[in-house]
Symmetry: C2
């Protein structure tokens, strides 16, 4: 079998430890090309750069056998420009991460890591976002590398019929402590108490976004529960956002 | 019945014509509070501001009976800070827009307008994003105002059991030309040929994101088709992104 072409991106920037771990894991599986933001882009969600031009620059960061480019834009920009300008063809798979910090539950919406993966999936490219439940810049990605290799191999061997897109979160523990894999759904959760007020030396009031993550979900079959019990959580992701049940509801009840 | 408290936001900035139209329509229904970006934020998706502080400033833009605040951050920031800092309680409904340009199909993911509405829905606030299929800054919002008033009234009268969240797109036509309302699903579509290459006076290569929107969906029951036939399209939106069919698939087929 021909070696698969693997596009690697992230949102913590091309210089983050997590993307290096992902590149190392992917080099054992296929030909790796990296296009990733030149600056950290956490919390950028599915943002795209419309009002400024975008630049890319080749960088020899990951050794001679890995083509790597920085992108001046967002994670989603990186995937778009990788496909159209760098690769000129679809990669066999796109992997994003490994994010410093989990992207379980509703955090998928804020996450640049996951939005990059979603963007690839819109392009019909099999795609996985990986996140480690440890925000530290020197986090230990040993377990994450094993997980990434295993899951990418499974996706290449058993592709889903369509919408090949996964949100994978890895617990902060050693390989020995990790209890395995759980295929689960996105937990219903949210952030509360989100702003901390301060006053500048010039007397202007300003706010820092902060907050506490609250799991509102009573179910045991969620990514939040899996992760808290030292399992790797795997959630297949949909980007048709239609709520079909509510569609039926308004078709029956509404008068317009 | 007590007048509902209506939070209005958008992504084209508080100074756009579209948000003025929405405020005018909502004033006929309830008490209106506006918190919207001070600068245009198109294409910001679900981005949040984590690395900089956020400021808000009161502005008398919409007359004495409408409290209005600019927010230095993104549309999603605006909704978060509206709830936590400005209102200190849940509004009865949040409306976002009226966007200059449609947000049908997959454009919901890139849209700051729709991400603001999604953010409100995560907070369990009934929420609607409105977009007019006309990007012009002087677009005619006459039909849009009628539509917004009608749909908000329906949502307040017949709330969906949960996940009260709609993506509403309005065709670029007069009230007489508009053929009515269609409750439909999100079309499967994407952007192609996305970058235009240029060279700066100093010889640096750069790219503008551009592209052509391509509807890949053969169905007639989509927002794209409705809009193209001069109907208002209404798509109920889900923010649990779990792909349940694929979840079953990997639970059966994958070996981990």
């Amino acid at each position: 079998m021909k070696k698969p072409l693997i596009l690697v991106t992230n949102d913590d920037s091309i210089y983050a430890k997590g993307i290096l771990a992902l590149v190392e894991a992917m080099k054992e599986i296929g030909e790796v090309v990296v296009v990733a933001p030149s600056l950290p882009q956490s919390g950028m969600g599915h943002a795209v750069t419309l009002k400024n031009p975008i630049t890319i620059e080749e960088r020899n960061i990951f050794g001679p056998d890995v083509k790597a480019y920085t992108c001046s834009g967002t994670p989603v920009d990186s995937v778009k420009i990788a496909r159209d300008v760098v690769l000129h063809r679809k990669p066999d798979i796109c992997v994003s991460g490994i994010n410093h910090g989990s992207n379980s539950s509703v955090n998928i919406l804020y996450s640049g890591t996951m939005s990059a993966a979603v963007e690839a999936a819109i392009e019909d490219i099999p795609s996985i976002g990986f996140s480690l439940d440890d925000q530290h810049r020197d986090a230990d990605f040993t377990l994450s590398k094993i997980v990434a290799k295993k899951i990418v191999t499974q996706m290449l061997e058993h592709p889903m019929p369509k919408n090949n897109l996964l949100n994978v979160n890895i617990p902060k523990c050693s390989e020995a402590e990790c209890r395995g894999y759980r295929m689960v759904r996105q937990a219903h959760a949210k952030w509360t108490e989100e702003f901390e007020e301060r006053v500048s030396p010039r007397g202007q009031q300003y706010f820092w976004m902060t907050g506490k993550f609250v799991n509102l979900d009573a179910g045991n079959d969620t990514d939040e529960v899996a992760l808290s019990e030292n399992y790797v959580s795997i959630v297949p992701i949909e980007f048709d956002l239609t709520h079909y049940e509510n569609l039926k509801f308004i078709q029956e009840k509404w008068e317009l």
